[in-house]
Each structure stands twice: as C-alpha cells, then as structure tokens.
C-alpha cells in the first residue's frame, strides 16, 4: 500500500441493526455500553425514547431503526453513544444497536445528491456495501424541528 492510499483510509465503527450493518466515523463515537434503565417522560420529539444516565451525564436515547430499516426493532444489545453536533455545541446521543460493533479502516466514497440526508457516504467491507451514517441528520435537533414536518401539536406524548 502506498503512502497516499494509506492516507485515504479512515476508521469507522460498524454497527448492526437487525440484518443490516451501518457505519459511523470512529471519531464520532464516544463509547459502546450495555443497555441500562431508560428514563421516560412526556415529550413530542419523534424517535426519542427517553434518557439514560451515563457517568453523571444525561444522554438522550434515539431509536434510529425505524428510519433506517422502516421497522422498529425491539431487541437491543448495546447503546452506541455518538457525538452529535448542534452548531458549535456537541452532545452525546445513544443509539440502540442489536449486535456487536466492529472497528475497521476503510475508504469512504462520498454521498451524492440523490442519497438520503442521513447518508454521509458509502464504504465497501467484507463484500458488503455499507452506508456511512451522518449522525447530525439521523438524530433530531433544532434545525430539523424548524424544517419540519414536525409531530402534530395534539398527539399523545411519546413515552
């Protein structure tokens, strides 16, 4: 491998959701933790299940399975805690995953215009073509609340 080729490789964490695997840039991953108690309270943000307590921090839990697989997965093995950017602020967000995670080095192909906003790019690994996720687009935040569509004003709170 030449030096130039080596420089193009980036680290990714592969995560499993049901039968599919996805990738997240390793630089955006804080940690992988066992599922712990979720504290639920009324709110109206789609995809947020509640919060967990992790080392004194309150971390929102965001179930991305419905958005990525078009079905909700109830089983979960770990929470992958990723760093989410909100402008200049950065916060942790926990995503339930259903299997082991793996750290790999791979070359990413950038996403094209026709890709969904949550796709940061693509990589090839083990004979699979894997979506690299854009955590900022995948998880809710103020910019998405402004852009809408939002949850209806008078719906049952998500608990």
């Amino acid at each position: 491998m030449t030096v130039s080729a080596e420089l193009e490789l980036q680290s990714f964490v592969l995560l499993r959701l049901g039968e599919r695997r996805f990738a997240v840039s390793a630089g955006q991953i804080a940690e992988l933790v066992s599922p712990s108690r979720i504290f639920r309270f009324p709110h109206r943000t789609p995809r947020l299940e509640g919060v967990i307590l992790r080392r004194g921090r309150i971390v929102p839990v965001c179930d991305v399975s419905e958005m990525l697989l078009e079905k909700r997965l109830t089983s979960r093995r770990f929470y992958l805690i990723a760093v989410r950017n909100y402008g200049t602020q950065r916060e942790w967000v926990a995503m339930p995953v259903t299997g082991e995670c793996e750290l790999i080095n791979a070359e990413m192909m950038a996403a094209v215009e026709s890709d969904a906003p949550h796709v940061a790019g693509w990589l090839s690994h083990g004979g699979e073509v894997i979506e690299v996720l854009n955590i900022d687009a995948l998880t809710p935040g103020p910019e998405q609340a402004l852009a809408g569509p939002t949850a209806p004003r008078r719906v049952e709170a998500r608990l």
């Binding site: 309270f41 009324p42 709110h43 943000t45 307590l53 971390v59 989410r84 809710p140 709170a157």
Partner: protein, 177 residues
Amino acid sequence: MRLAAPVKPSSAKTEQIILFRISGHLFAISSASVQEVRSADSMSGAATEISAPGLRKVRRVLRRGDRSLFIVNGAMHFGLHAAEGTLLFVLRKTRTALLIDGIEKMTSMTRLQALPLSFCHEERQWYRGLTALDQTVIPVVQPEGFLSSEELALLDAALLQTGNPDDEALEGAIPAP
C-alpha cells in the same frame, strides 16, 4: 394550604423542589414557583367553565380579585392519559393553576441539567431541564410553559365571550362533589 414565601437556600447550588405525579409520571417544580397548594374539590365551587377552541386542557377558570387563573389539566397538557386530578398548584407569577394527581415529596436538587438538544419540540417550553435524584432522572417543569401567550390570548377571548365572569361565578359555578 398557603405556602410560606420560600426561604433563600443557604447554598446557591441547592434549590428546593416539589416532586409530584401526573398520570403515574414524576415531575419536579421549584417550590418557589408554587404560591398555593389546594385540594381540587375545595376550588371547584369557585371555578367557572370555559371553552376555548382547540384548547382542551383548560376547562375551568378561577377568579382571584381582578385576575383570572386558568386551571390546566396536567395530564392533558403533557398528552398523558387523562386523570381527574386531586390537587391544584397555583403557580406564582403566572395565570396557571395546575391540576395534578398528588405530591410525592419535597426535596432539593443540586444540579439542573439542560434538556439535551435532541429534544426539540414543545418539551423545550415545558421543562427548565432535567435533574438526577437517587439515580432517577426527573424533568423539572417550567411554570410559564403550561400556557403560551397564544393560548392565553385564546382563553382571554373565550372569557370575554362568556360575559361577565363575576356573574358566571354566581350562576354557573360548578358545585363541589
């Protein structure tokens, strides 16, 4: 029961709070925000009915001198299963009397954490933040968050339509059960 004016906490990092329940969910409110705690029954005789379009969480209004206090059903506000509510919190510096199921306890919190930015809808108006007490995370409600200025305008308009509120209080009072 009239609550005494809150005493300034000795440490700036500690805040007295009341933990209360609505439809099985635990919430916290700063005790400084609660002017009075009343039994819902004791207030029902003085309340008059009100109906503002699209605002089902407020069904009754209380006259307090020249002020109107809107009784907000906490369960409906949070989109929970509707409960009757047995206690009213009259919230200081607002026009809200909050109907709740019961008080859990009074305690103090040492740290209020901002609501994570992932929560990006109405809950940002509902809560001041979250606090962790005994390894449990509890949302701390914002007293001003129960009625928005638009909702207050709707309710004021509905009040005007019902005519003289004082007459209503005499003629249309809801009898105590």
